[in-house]
């Protein structure tokens, strides 16, 4: 209701000529009321407030006569309110998200006089179950064979091509290992040391001194530098590499 219409404004938009008259309200044939509503092209022309007041007056006059009418009155007002609210929703938001039908009882919508061909119940999304099954012993064995195969192939390459012409550079692609995950891990490590005010040296990023790890880490650093996340400095050839966190990530 973001048009900011106050209740008084709503009422003032309605003309007296279209108010539900007291004859209708006191009629025992209440189904007729809804038919009458249906004949209004613009539901704004009907005032729920005025209608309710008329009804209150009628009720006072009726005193203790026929109270069965009151329930139907509530139903009628609510149907009308829904029609109005739907219209208001469409005017203000291009028809998006008519929240109110959540709060209306399904039985109420099925009220025989309520003829809204456009209404459809909202589908219910089925609850999907995602089952992750256990790994079998055979699969464990096969995983070991795969790990051994990858390892032996890498060892063989290392023996045959000591000059590292291998573009693979130790990134175990067969493994399904995500290079970006490794980049993030290394960057977190660098940032942690950096935030502690420590001098971040290449050698301090290594868990062990293997050639393979050095290549992996160096490659990851180059990527981080190319992304502007870090700056690498080397004072003189073959000296340790000093790493600084890029300005964008400084102080995080």
């Amino acid at each position: 209701m973001n048009e900011g219409l106050e209740d008084g404004q709503l009422t003032s938009r309605l003309s007296d000529r279209d108010r539900i008259n007291s004859v209708t309200l006191s009629s025992p044939y209440w189904q007729d009321i809804l038919d009458q509503y249906a004949s209004y092209e613009d539901p704004w022309e009907i005032s729920v407030v005025e209608m309710a007041r008329d009804f209150q007056r009628q009720l006072a006059e009726l005193q203790d006569e026929d109270f069965e009418l009151s329930g139907r009155m509530v139903v009628s007002c609510a149907v009308l309110l829904r029609v109005k609210a739907q219209e208001l929703g469409e005017r203000s938001e291009g028809g998006e998200e008519e929240e109110f039908d959540e709060y209306i009882e399904p039985d109420f919508l099925a009220y025989e006089e309520f003829d809204d061909e456009k209404f459809v119940p909202t589908l219910e999304v089925p609850v999907k179950r995602i089952n992750r099954r256990a790994v079998t012993r055979d699969e464990l064995e096969r995983a070991f064979e795969d790990a051994a195969r990858v390892y032996r192939r890498r060892e063989k390459r290392r023996d045959e091509e000591p000059e590292l012409e291998d573009p693979d550079w130790g990134i175990d692609l067969d493994d399904g290992e995500d290079f970006h995950v490794r980049l993030q891990r290394l960057f977190r490590k660098v940032k942690k040391k950096w935030s502690q005010g420590k001098k971040v040296l290449f050698s301090t990023l290594l868990n062990r001194e293997s050639r393979e790890e050095k290549f992996d880490t160096f490659l990851e650093l180059l990527h981080l530098q190319s992304e502007g996340k870090i700056n690498c400095k080397q004072e003189e050839p073959f000296s340790d590499i000093l790493i600084e966190v890029g300005k964008d990530d400084d102080g995080e």
């Binding site: 469409e90 938001e93 291009g94 028809g95 998006e96 998200e97 456009k118 459809v120 119940p121 909202t122 589908l123 219910e124 999304v125 089925p126 609850v127 999907k128 179950r129 995602i130 089952n131 099954r133």
Partner: protein, 170 residues
């Protein structure tokens, strides 16, 4: 917790239950027949037995058959209590309502859907097409929208007639 681990002869009913449990999707009848290694009428007997077992008050599941595909599901009246344990569902409410309008009227002119759901529904329709729930076909100056078999499978329906009959959707 498990006895007779190494049993080599497997009870066909146990196999059918395991297959239905392990699969996240409905399992075709033919698959169950192959798996259980039984003739068709025996599979029917097994299915019936499983259904009878599940009908007991102290069981939380039910067996659902759709187009010859079988699936275990949580009983409807229990589902609201446990569904928070299932992974997050991924169709927004606005999109779902647009999908409902298309499904209940399928095939339906895009123009009519927009009339009912407003201009925002253009985006919803795009999303529904890209998810494979809806197809779109040029029809004069507007488009004719219809729900797909993927839609029916996802919502566990035999056809859109199910919707018009006002049957339960899950």
């Amino acid at each position: 917790m498990e006895s007779n681990e190494e049993r080599s002869v497997q009870d066909p009913k146990a196999l059918v239950e395991a297959a239905l449990f392990i699969s996240s999707d409905p399992v075709p009848r033919s698959e169950l027949i192959d798996l259980a290694g039984t003739p068709e009428d025996e599979l029917d007997f097994i299915i019936e037995e499983i259904e009878d077992d599940l009908a007991a008050e102290d069981r939380g599941l039910r067996l659902v058959e759709n187009n010859g595909n079988y699936q275990l599901r949580v009983k409807r009246f229990i589902l609201p209590r446990v569904k928070y344990l299932a992974p997050h569902q991924d169709i927004s409410r606005g999109v779902l309502r647009t999908l409902s309008v298309i499904a209940y009227n399928s095939p339906v002119l895009q123009k009519e859907v927009i009339d009912i759901r407003g201009n925002g529904a253009y985006d919803h329709i795009d999303e529904l097409i890209s998810r494979g729930f809806v197809t779109s076909k040029q029809e004069g100056r507007t488009k004719l929208l219809a729900v797909t078999q993927d839609f029916l499978d996802y919502f566990g329906l035999d056809g859109t007639e199910d919707l018009r009959k006002g049957e339960d959707l899950i």
